[in-house]
């Protein structure tokens, strides 16, 4: 479904992505784990067209989307939930969700109420707060609203950037539970997380990023069992000699 090949992206003079390749197939949750500054977010913004790739290609559903403007990429079905949610704080939960539907190229207004109901089943806490202003929600609730709003765009691929960042462990667990239930509904997701363990527990496969490059890939279970993943996640290097 998504195929990223040898993508190089610069932030000013800094090479943030040094030839990254990965793929996501339909129905999969794929996670990118790695320490802060490894290039995970840049990878997502490169896919969604916000940061242009200097080299390499991005294919989505058999089309090359590398140089497409971001709005066209959204219309093609890739929707990103940005880190920090970026909600409309003065608007109600309901209105935030309805706005999400306008990211579709042709929203069908008649089906909206039914879709909202389906969404509230997934996020009961949002139903309770549907009339409340988004700005008054707790951090975890805002994160859920961010995901819910993205889902209203009916994306084929959901890009999640650090959904658990800044949340209390208990709330973060709720978020991952939501992600796991989305997976049962067949939503395809690319999930960027610093919390490698939690991300790998909900994902099918994963890639480990270090300083702009992928150093390991495998099934989520393989990576969970892997000592190198813990090392990469903790940002620890090797000793002077491999045998120390």
């Amino acid at each position: 479904m998504l195929r990223v090949s040898s993508v190089i992206t610069y932030h000013g003079a800094v090479q943030a992505l040094k030839g990254v390749s990965l793929h996501v197939t339909q129905g999969e949750i794929v996670t990118i784990v790695g320490a802060n500054g490894a290039g995970k977010t840049t990878l997502l913004t490169t896919i969604s067209g916000l940061t242009p790739a200097a080299r390499g290609t991005v294919h989505f559903a058999d089309q090359e989307i590398t140089r497409w403007p971001s709005q066209r990429i959204v219309n093609a079905g890739i929707c990103q939930v940005p880190e920090g949610r970026q909600l409309f704080g003065e608007m109600s939960v309901d209105d935030n969700l309805t706005l999400g539907a306008y990211q579709r190229s042709r929203p069908d207004k008649r089906s909206l109420p039914a879709e909202l109901d389906a969404l509230f089943e997934l996020f009961p806490v949002l139903y309770e707060r549907r009339r409340q202003r988004a700005g008054t929600l707790s951090g975890g609730e805002q994160q859920m609203l961010g995901i819910a709003r993205a889902l209203m765009a009916a994306p084929k691929l959901l890009l999640l950037d650090e959904p658990s960042v800044g949340l209390a462990p208990r709330v973060a667990r709720d978020i991952f539970r939501v992600i796991a239930s989305l997976r049962k509904r067949g939503t395809t997701m690319l999930l960027v997380e610093q919390n490698a363990r939690a991300a790998l527990q909900v994902a099918d496969r994963g890639y480990v990023m270090e300083t702009g490059a992928i150093v390991l890939e495998g099934t989520a279970q393989e990576l969970l069992d892997d000592k190198e993943v813990q090392r990469a996640y903790l940002g620890k290097g090797y000793g002077q000699q491999p045998w120390e």
Binding site: R3, S5, S6, I8, Q15, K18, G19, V20, S21, L22, H23, R55, G56, Y207, E210, A213, I214, V215, L216, E217, G218, E222, D225, D226, K227, E228, Y238, G239, P242, W243, E244
Partner: protein
């Protein structure tokens, strides 16, 4: 016939190439970061990990040779700290320092999966009783097949090598259905069965997976006829992972390479130039998933061809032709290709002979002459002329049956053959146009 992993073995080739690219980039990144040898080699060639933008870019990389591995003895080629290594194998040191191969836990899991694939392709199922008569030890053959058979769910008998009578007893009592080992030993077992008057139909044998040494179609035919089994060929080498690199399916049109784990190339062994598809040359392998020991463009010294045409079995992976020759140690005697290792394998099975021998080639008139000089253990050194002649005859007939040559055999007393430190001088070629020894 079933396929062990349809997902990977029957993958769309475009999808496969994406997976290969991802894994190649990860491997090169890790090798550059964690293995001093690769770091220096890439720096010297003015290459950075990000230069791998496509699968073709690997052709710009220098080769890794067995000598590089020897220089890295024992642990220099490892990309992880020793505490993450859970297994160490080593190849025989017949030509000097052994090469050491490390495995992480994940490498062992990968290995099991890969051998399960080739064993399934060779006809092994969970209902089989698999008797492994490779030697269990530093050599990878036995352990690799052991894991693969267990992964499939078959019943494994770790018989290990040698003790032909015992092997036969196990085959009878445990109702072995699948044999795994060297083809030459399988043939030897068949001959002993014949001598003992045991008909193969009294056994439960069904299939055999043979490898670890060069063998011919003629030998396959002999094994199949004598043991009443379907015999398949497979290929692997410890530097890359061990058995599990490739194996034959029921169509016997080459050995399917697990390309999601190995990137094969064929080069001209003299110039190092990449050859066109279908041309015979030296097999070069880049391991795409080895954690403990990344291998970039390892020169296998095995000559073969590659075929990526679709196979009727449904697997989409490239197939390599049977490996008949190695680039280094083959000798040609009266049109027959002979490897010292074949002679060695046969001598190892003749009671009383030591693994010290020499092949002397000379020319009388137009005809090549061959003499095999064999040391005999002191306890057994024949005390009568008659016993001496009998033993020589035994060796000659084994060589004739298995390699198709009948050289002069000369038994010599223990420790009379010259031993040089390091490389054993197996072959002395005095033929006028011989290239070296």
């Amino acid at each position: 016939m079933p396929v062990w992993s349809k997902r990977w073995e029957c993958m769309d080739r475009e999808e496969l190439q994406q997976v290969q690219l991802e894994r190649l980039q990860a491997t090169v990144n890790r090798a550059y970061k964690n293995v001093r040898f690769y770091h220096q080699q890439m720096d010297a060639a003015d290459l950075a990990p990000e230069d791998v933008q496509s699968l073709q870019d690997i052709r710009r990389f220098p080769f890794t040779t067995k000598d590089d591995m020897r220089e890295g003895y024992p642990y220099e080629m490892f990309a992880v700290p020793l505490r993450e290594i859970v297994r160490i194998h080593a190849s025989s040191g017949t030509t000097g320092q052994p090469t050491v191969c490390g495995y992480t836990k994940r490498d062992l899991q990968t290995w099991s999966e890969l051998v399960a694939r080739i064993m399934t392709a060779g006809g092994v199922t969970r209902n089989d009783v698999v008797q492994i008569f490779f030697g269990y030890g530093l050599f990878t053959g036995a352990f690799g097949h052991h894991y693969g058979a267990e992964e499939i769910g078959a019943s494994v008998i770790p018989a290990s090598a040698g003790g032909t009578q015992r092997q036969i007893q196990l085959m009878q009592d445990f109702r072995t259905t699948a044999l795994v080992g060297t083809p030459s030993y399988a043939l030897y077992i068949a001959e002993v069965l014949e001598e003992m008057g045991i008909h193969p139909d009294q056994l439960s044998l069904r299939v055999g997976l043979f490898g670890a040494e060069p063998w011919s179609e003629r030998m396959r035919e002999a094994i199949e006829n004598k043991l009443h089994i379907t015999a398949s060929d497979n290929y692997g080498l410890s530097e890359i992972i061990g058995p599990g690199v490739s194996g034959e399916c029921e169509h016997r049109n080459g050995m399917h390479i697990s390309e999601d784990h190995f990137l094969p190339e064929i080069i001209d062994p003299q110039t190092g130039e990449l050859l066109e598809p279908g041309q015979e040359g030296e097999l070069v392998i880049t391991a795409l998933t080895r954690e403990a020991m990344p291998m970039i463009r390892f020169r296998t010294r095995d000559l073969t061809t590659l075929d990526v045409e679709p196979c009727p079995c449904g697997r989409t992976t490239a197939r390599m032709a049977r490996v008949g020759q190695r680039t280094d140690d083959m000798i040609i005697y009266r049109g027959v290709n002979i490897y010292p290792s074949q002679v060695e394998a046969i001598l190892a099975e003749v009671e009383g002979t030591e693994p010290h021998f020499q092949i002397v080639l000379d020319r009388k008139g137009a005809l090549d002459e061959m003499e095999v000089q064999v040391e005999v253990s002191p306890e057994i050194f024949p005390d009568t002329m008659r016993k001496l002649v009998e033993m020589e005859e035994r060796i000659r007939s084994r060589l004739a049956a298995q390699i198709g040559i009948s050289p002069r055999i000369k038994l010599v007393e223990p420790k009379t053959l010259e031993r040089t430190s390091g490389k054993a001088q197996r072959v002395i070629d005095r033929r006028p146009d011989a290239e070296g020894g």
